[in-house]
């Protein structure tokens, strides 16, 4: 018997572990290597990396607020979150209450002078995160200057370059106080593997954006996208128009805008559409250039643009911190302008965007899981940009024509425009840009690009009646402390 045991134990003892025993892989997420395997086995998801960039544009936590000592930041939900901050800084969107305190520091204009403030960090982090995601796919397609062989790869590279340009465009607007060409403002990363870089000049950044968008537009020519969240040649051309306008190259801005107007097949929202809630990219597919169809599976709730700005969603806007129209801007909307009806004073809210943005159920505090959509760009922007560029070039007639293309759907009679020219016309275009695009994250871009001075209306809780220049330190975000501390090649804030 003892011998039987002996043999048994010798057997057990010789039982070693095979090599695979020490190989373990995560399953709650994947890895670059495993993703490669998955794409080979399941070619139908080949564009998942690209789609990931779009997903990140609305996902919660992409600004990594948890890196920050104070933790959660309820504006850390991607692109539309930073739109709220910029709309507030431009003076058109008023923080109507401070019950919860989110964005009090934006209303009070202290966050923008405090490089330790988490709003600077999440914003910086988010846009550079998009840069990294874009660079990863760009690298996978062979780099910024590659000429992929397959149509699919060309379109993939085109989209990637477009998203990278989008991110740099916003970084430049939000973090550069002014746009003097030689000012060193932002580090440029053109691939996903480089180490921390020093700041590049305004000129280099704009040229980088324009170069990416030009390539993107070319690569995406003829590309028919499957969903409105995907960048196509018209989205690329939209940002090209914005970038040229920021650079002051109005001829190119005008032609980029005109290209979208003439070829995208999109039309200006009708007088009924404009009060239909701007909450459905499918219903508005004839108008929306770029946006996302949000579904329950995306998991958005009170931490979302709808939560922060829509009183028909269960969140802060409803519960005590509404985002409302600047009363001075509101007063400049013509009485017979359909857009005047957007803003209502009722239910305890003063000038909240009752009829511009609302969840379709229209139950106060009702929408819990956000399914109302995000719209990033719509065709009206291009008409306004075109008008702005043509007016800047002195072509008032062309400018008036583009502006009328919108106003004819907003007011009974747009003929007053015929009497406007020169700076009056330019001022009118700027005003109409602010009105038409209220709450859409565009008025800050206009203020910066047109070097405007803004004045806060009397309904502001902070600084009512006070004016600020576009290049005031208070209106531009700071390079976050964490970047300065950990990037050995950046040691100072951007020049004033």
């Amino acid at each position: 018997m003892k011998k039987i045991f002996y043999s048994l134990f010798v057997l057990i003892f010789s039982f070693g572990c095979n090599e695979d025993f020490l190989e373990e892989f995560p399953t709650s997420y994947t890895t670059p290597e495993k993703l490669g395997e998955a794409l080979e086995l399941n070619p139908g998801v080949g564009s998942s990396g690209l789609l990931g960039i779009y997903e990140s544009m609305f996902a919660v936590g992409t600004g990594y607020e948890n890196d920050f000592p104070s933790g959660r930041n309820d504006y850390d939900f991607g692109h539309r979150g930073y739109d709220v901050l910029s709309d507030m800084l431009s003076g058109d969107m008023v923080l109507g209450g401070k019950n919860y305190g989110w964005l009090s520091d934006i209303s009070e204009l202290t966050a923008t002078e405090d490089y330790t403030n988490s709003n600077n960090y999440t914003m910086w982090r988010y846009y550079y995160y998009i840069v990294l995601l874009a660079n990863s796919t760009i690298d996978a397609f062979g780099g910024s200057d590659a000429n992929p062989e397959t149509t699919e790869a060309q379109q993939g590279l085109g989209q990637s370059l477009g998203t990278r340009a989008y991110a740099y465009f916003y970084l430049l607007n939000l973090f550069a106080n002014d746009f003097d060409n030689a000012d060193l403002v932002l580090p440029i990363y053109s691939n996903s593997t480089s180490e921390n870089q020093p700041k590049s000049s305004v000129k280099d950044v704009i040229d980088f954006i324009i170069s990416d968008l030009t390539k993107s537009k070319a690569l995406l020519t003829g590309f028919s996208r499957s969903a409105p969240n995907i960048i196509d040649e018209y989205v690329a051309s939209t940002y090209l128009a914005y970038a040229y306008a920021l650079k002051g190259d109005y001829a190119n801005a005008s032609s980029a805008a005109k290209f979208v107007i003439d070829n995208s097949g999109k039309s200006v929202q009708s007088i009924t559409e404009i009060v239909s809630g701007m909450n459905d990219v499918n219903r508005l597919s004839g108008n929306v250039l770029w946006g996302t169809d949000l579904t329950v599976d995306n998991g958005l709730d009170l931490r979302s643009w709808w939560g922060q700005c829509d009183i028909f969603t269960y969140s802060y806007a409803w519960a005590g911190d509404p985002k409302v129209a600047d009363v001075s801007l509101y007063n400049q909307i013509a009485e017979d302008d359909v857009r005047k009806t957007w803003f209502r004073t009722s239910g305890g809210y003063t000038l909240a965007p009752h009829y511009k943005f609302f969840h379709e159920d229209r139950i106060i505090g009702g929408q819990r899981n956000v399914t109302a959509d995000y719209i990033y760009n719509r065709i009206e922007e291009l008409y306004l940009l075109h008008a702005e560029a043509e007016a800047a070039l002195g072509n008032d007639a062309a400018a008036r024509q583009s502006l009328k293309a919108i106003l004819d759907h907003r007011i009974p009679d747009s003929s007053y425009l015929d009497a406007l020219s020169g700076t009056d016309l330019q001022d009118e275009i700027y005003l109409q840009t602010r009105i038409e695009l209220w709450g859409e994250g565009k008025s800050y871009l206009a203020m910066k690009r047109l070097r405007k001075t803004i004045t806060r209306g009397p309904n502001w809780l902070d600084y009512p009646g006070e004016s600020f220049d576009y290049n005031d330190e208070k209106l531009t975000f700071e390079i976050p402390e964490i970047e300065i501390r950990n990037n050995p090649n950046i040691s100072d804030q951007n020049p004033k």
């Binding site: 045991f5 002996y6 134990f9 057990i12 003892f13 070693g16 572990c17 025993f21 020490l22 190989e23 373990e24 892989f25 995560p26 997420y29 994947t30 890895t31 670059p32 998942s48 789609l51 990931g52 779009y54 996902a59 990594y64 890196d67 000592p69 109507g96 209450g97 401070k98 019950n99 305190g101 009090s104 520091d105 002078e113 405090d114 330790t116 960090y121 910086w124 982090r125 550079y128 995160y129 840069v131 660079n135 990863s136 180490e195 921390n196 870089q197 969903a227 969240n229 996302t292 579904t295 599976d297 998991g299 519960a319 009702g366 899981n369 809780l461 964490i482 970047e483 501390r485 950990n486």
Partner: protein
């Protein structure tokens, strides 16, 4: 007489007459040796007149003069059970043990009201930091052995070993009543054998076993109360007073922006720019509450209602009941230990409790003299409720402490009356428009919602030992721990955050399996009368797997009760998820121990270890050498009052792989849904080149027993190279950091245990034991920064700075410079580099981080001034660390006739902590966001000339008053009365009537007193000593109990 070699036969027995197999018999002065067989019998060649030395671990060596051909050796226990060190790899005689180890017997642990062994270790071993973290019943304490920081970003937690096997289960699955001994292994000699995961010390838990021919029945019953007894922060209790302060704060803001302050405050106090008017609890408008000329509440204004004090509804005394029952015994061939236990431990917070039912069966079989088999079987069922403990406004601890007293618990109508709710009580105020903790009611949620957890834990441990030949044994061990954890969450459909979706139910199932297989060859041989060697070689493999699955739904039928936690009770599907994570390990182990005479002992061990955590570089080699020298055995040692004196030293290199999850080697890419298509998103950076952290440990220790005191003193150093270090990068890379093996850390310290019998008579004994630890640490090297082309000088780390040559626990922050007496503003110190020597700061002379600046600019002309803008101040090392100068415990044990008493006090001296909870109470928030104030707010600056360290309140006109700065650092000295038990053992005359062997009644108290620099501040409660908002403050427990032994 003829001196002829003859065969002597003999028998070895213990003091109870039980046969001792495996005892070593040596003929003194020769190499002739043998061991006793299964029945304790042996035979050996010896001459008459030779001396036989008979030894057995744990027993005194017996010397027997050969006279005739048969001997009977009776061995007596060398002293007490504590004299043996049980490691997973064997049992060692403590006197000769070369490592630094502390064994804690079952008795002191049983004197505490604990549900979990980790909490029972408070005050029982030097060099041990035990912090509770939470008063939630059943939770484990965090334990650190020899210092808070084993590594910068790697693992600092010790390894738990249950009955010889690394244990990854829930500590609260082990009934402390089943534990025979708990041994803390501290140095490399003790821990190297555990290789991976032993670098931060090892805690060995050994469960009870049966004794041959000694049947025992033990019943222990105790019952008592858990209560909220310890002091809290002193706060402004009066709603009127609080409102006056907020009014003053608004007034000061008005003045600060150039307006009429009183008008400004009157207009805003209760308004959309202040507190929501619906919370005006008085019979007057918001602008009529305060007399603008005095700033005092108008005496004519009465209350509409008295808001509830939230705390009164959140905390109640609760019961604690425990019953333990065990039977043990056995024969020569089989022994058994069986136990069953039930514990009901209810917290003082609403719906927070822990219930455990546990059972254990430990069996030993010796069917043949060459075969021993052991099996341990442990099962526990643990159910907990965790309501009111989220880390947000759902925390009843944060909201009860910080909720201003004006906000009622129950919603009021316009007349101030409470409103009936659908459940028949009153409607909780869910805070629509309440600035503090809005849209929630933590107490309502704690009553209405469900947050419960149910764990089944099964632990099975099988061992065989097969004697192959004399002195050679083959051992095989297989152990499995299986844990099934069910977490159910339900949110109410009518009230709270899920009402918009008709309620919410979530179910999580988490299944953990951990198995270990170890095969070893063990050998021991008496080489000569002077040399004895033992050792083993072993191979072991282990795998831990945790799989989790969650599903959740919206829109419920039944909001409460058993149905509510089921998905079938709800209709709308939401996201569901599942995943599995695993780690596997494989190792080869060798250990060799040589004893020379009684005085010297040398041990060497070696491990070749591997882990799946590292994708490419899996294997590492580790080991240690240790030496023990019992000077008191030497002839030259001549100190009659010292009975035992030992020097120990050890040096070893131990690997560590944990601390950053199981997959730090891989980039993380998440799978997301975009319009029902697969989207993949990069989340964080991995590092495939990661490998073992190498810990180098040195220990030098003294063990002393004398007529005056018994003492153990150790000096140690623990250095860590190739540390896991989260190297921060500029986030413009798109990620925040990358984990590298880089940088070096030194930890060193001294620890002591001194034990003295103050009084020792037949009737009265009094013993005092003092434990103390001193520790220091220093970061000697930071990682290489490729973007800079050099090593980093500095990296910030929360409240601390990681600077070369600095402690990792030195506070690094802006320094508070007090209040400007002219305007009341808080000030902080600013440093600047006065390049042009004009004595003031000019553009380009700012210094944001002083430490780094000084290194980069060694010739800088650094000056200092004070600023009122927080962000302009300079961050710098404060010279204050979170590491106490000394910490430890004092234990008093006494007995008088049949009475016994033992009390433990724990202390910390020196060091600092950051009191975040206090900072919340002292903040300069806007009126709507204002929280409860600490009574220290009354010391605030009021008018020019006031000299105080509490700045003006001006409704956040001066921002960042309560942001991180030395203003909230506090000396962390503490003295806690942790535990006392007083017992009385009934006289034999009484107990014999019921055939009991022992009956004892006792009273126990736990967490009885906390003395610190500020009421409510409890630095011994978290690892850092810093405080937080959401802490379940410690619970005080009183119980009475009865133990019956038969």
């Amino acid at each position: 007489m003829v001196n002829a070699q003859q065969t002597i036969t003999g028998k070895v027995q213990d003091h109870d007459g039980l046969d001792l197999p495996g005892a070593t018999i040596v003929v003194e002065g020769t190499s002739t040796a043998t061991t006793s067989d299964f029945d304790g019998n042996f035979s050996i060649s010896a001459d008459n007149g030779d001396k036989l030395l008979i030894s057995y671990v744990g027993y005194k060596v017996a010397e027997i003069l050969v006279d005739g051909n048969s001997v009977l050796a009776t061995l007596s226990l060398s002293t007490e059970l504590e004299e043996v060190i049980v490691t997973g790899y064997g049992v060692y005689d403590k006197k000769r043990y070369t490592g630094s180890a502390v064994t804690i017997d079952t008795e002191p642990i049983s004197r505490k009201n604990i549900s979990n062994i980790s909490r029972g270790l408070v005050g029982e071993a030097s060099g041990l930091t035990v912090v509770s973290n939470s008063g939630q019943p059943g939770t484990s304490a965090t334990i650190r052995i020899r210092g808070k920081a084993g590594s910068v970003n790697g693992n600092s937690a010790p390894l738990y070993v249950l009955d010889g096997v690394p244990y990854n289960g829930n500590l609260n699955a082990i009934n402390p009543n089943d534990i025979e001994t708990t041994t803390i292994l501290k140095d490399a000699a003790a821990t190297a054998i555990y290789g991976n995961r032993g670098a931060n010390g090892v805690i060995l838990i050994t469960t009870k076993r049966g004794d041959a021919d000694k049947a025992r029945i033990s019943v222990d019953i105790k019952s008592g109360t858990n209560t909220d007894y310890l002091p809290r922060y002193s706060v402004i209790e009066s709603p009127e007073r609080w409102t006056e302060i907020v009014w003053e704060s608004l007034k000061n803001r008005g003045i600060g922006i150039g307006q009429n302050g009183a008008d400004y405050a009157q207009l805003r106090l209760f308004s959309s720019a202040g507190i929501n008017p619906k919370y005006n609890m008085w019979n007057a408008n918001g602008n009529a509450l305060i007399d603008p000329s005095t700033g005092k509440f108008n005496s004519s204004v009465g209350r509409k209602y008295d808001p509830e004090v939230w705390r009164d509804y959140a905390f109640n005394d609760a019961r604690r009941n425990e019953v333990n029952f065990s039977i043990s015994g056995g024969s020569k061939t089989s022994k058994y230990y069986y136990s069953a236990g039930a514990l009901e431990d209810v917290g003082y917070g609403i719906n927070s409790d822990f219930r455990r039912y546990s059972t254990r069966l430990n069996l030993d079989f010796t069917p043949y003299e060459w075969l021993t088999a052991k099996t341990n079987f442990g099962y526990s069922y643990a159910a907990s409720n965790f309501n009111g403990q989220s880390s947000d406004s759902g925390s009843i601890f944060w909201t009860t402490a910080n909720m201003p007293r004006i906000y009622p618990l129950f919603e009021r109508d316009a007349d101030g009356n409470k409103i009936k709710d659908v459940y028949g009580g009153f409607k909780y105020d869910y805070g629509e428009g309440r600035g503090f903790a809005g849209l929630t009611n933590s107490i309502g949620d704690a009553y209405y919602d469900t947050d419960k957890d149910l764990i089944h834990n099964l632990n099975i441990n099988q061992q065989f030992a097969l004697s192959l030949m004399e002195g050679v044994t083959f051992e095989s061990l297989f152990s499995i721990n299986y844990l099934m954890d069910n977490t159910d969450l339900v949110s109410d459909p009518t009230y709270g955050s899920s009402r918009g979706q008709g309620g919410y139910v979530s179910k999580t199932k988490n299944q953990n399996t951990n198995w270990t297989l170890r095969n070893a060859l063990r050998f021991e041989r008496q080489l000569s009368d002077r040399f004895f060697m033992m050792g083993f070689i072993a191979h072991e493999s282990e795998r831990y797997e945790s799989s989790t699955m969650n599903a959740n739904k919206y829109t419920l039928l039944q909001p409460r009760g058993p149905i509510s936690v089921e998905l079938d009770n709800a209709v709308k599907n939401n996201n569901s998820s599942s995943s599995t994570s695993a780690v596997s390990r494989e190792a080869y182990v060798a250990y060799f121990n040589l004893k020379v005479d009684e005085a010297y002992n040398i041990a060497i061990d070696f491990r070749r270890d591997s882990t799946s955590i590292f994708p490419n570089d899996k294997w590492g080699n580790f080991g240690s050498v240790s030496l023990g020298w019992i000077l008191s055995e030497e002839d030259f040692f001549n100190a009659p009052n010292i009975s035992f004196f030992k020097l120990r030293t050890s040096y070893g290199i131990i690997g560590e792989a944990l601390g950053q999850g199981f997959y730090p080697g891989y980039d993380r890419i998440d799978v997301k849904n975009l319009n029902d298509e697969v989207a993949t998103v990069f989340i964080s950076k991995g590092n495939a080149e990661l490998t073992w952290e190498a810990g180098k440990q040195f220990n030098l220790g003294i063990d002393l027993e004398s007529n005056y005191v018994n003492a153990t003193i150790d000096f140690y150093s623990k250095n860590r190279d190739d540390m896991f270090f989260t190297r921060n990068v500029g986030t413009s890379l798109g990620y925040r950091s990358i984990l590298v093996n880089d940088g070096s850390l030194k930890n060193w310290g001294i620890e002591f245990t001194v034990d003295k019998d103050i009084i020792k008579t037949d009737d009265f004994n009094l013993n005092v034991r003092v434990l103390g630890s001193i520790e220091k640490n220093e970061l000697t090297e930071l990682p290489y920064d490729p973007a800079a082309g050099r090593r980093k000088y500095f990296q910030s780390n929360g409240f601390y700075g990681l600077g070369k040559g600095k402690s990792t626990y030195e506070f690094y922050m802006r320094e508070y410079a007090g209040v400007n007496p002219d305007n009341g503003y808080a000030q902080w110190f600013r440093n600047y580099d006065d390049k042009n020597s004009n004595g003031s700061l000019d553009d380009g002379e700012e210094i944001e981080d002083l430490f780094e600046y000084k290194i980069e600019n060694p010739k800088a002309n650094i000056l200092e001034d004070k600023v009122e803008k927080y962000v302009d101040a300079t961050k710098r090392f404060t010279g204050k660390t979170a590491i106490p100068d000394m910490y430890g415990s004092i234990t008093l044990s006494a007995s008088y006739k049949a009475f016994d008493m033992r009390a433990i006090f724990s202390y910390g001296l020196g060091g600092y902590a950051y009191d975040s909870a206090y900072a919340d109470f002292m903040d300069n928030e806007t009126a709507s966001n204002a929280q409860q104030f600490h009574t220290d707010i009354e010391n605030r600056w009021r008018q020019a000339g006031d000299v105080t360290d509490v700045p003006i309140l001006n409704s956040n006109l001066q921002v960042n008053q309560a942001s991180t700065s030395t203003r909230f650092l506090i000396e962390a000295d503490y003295f806690n009365f942790s535990n006392i038990q007083v017992g009385y053992t009934l006289p034999d005359s009484l107990i014999q009537k019921i055939n009991a062997s022992n009956i004892r009644v006792y009273f126990t108290g736990d967490n009885l007193m906390i003395l610190s620099k500020r009421d409510g501040f409890n630095p011994g409660y978290s690892l850092s000593g810093n405080t937080g908002r959401y802490t379940y403050e410690p619970m005080t427990t009183f119980t009475a109990g009865l133990t019956l032994n038969f």
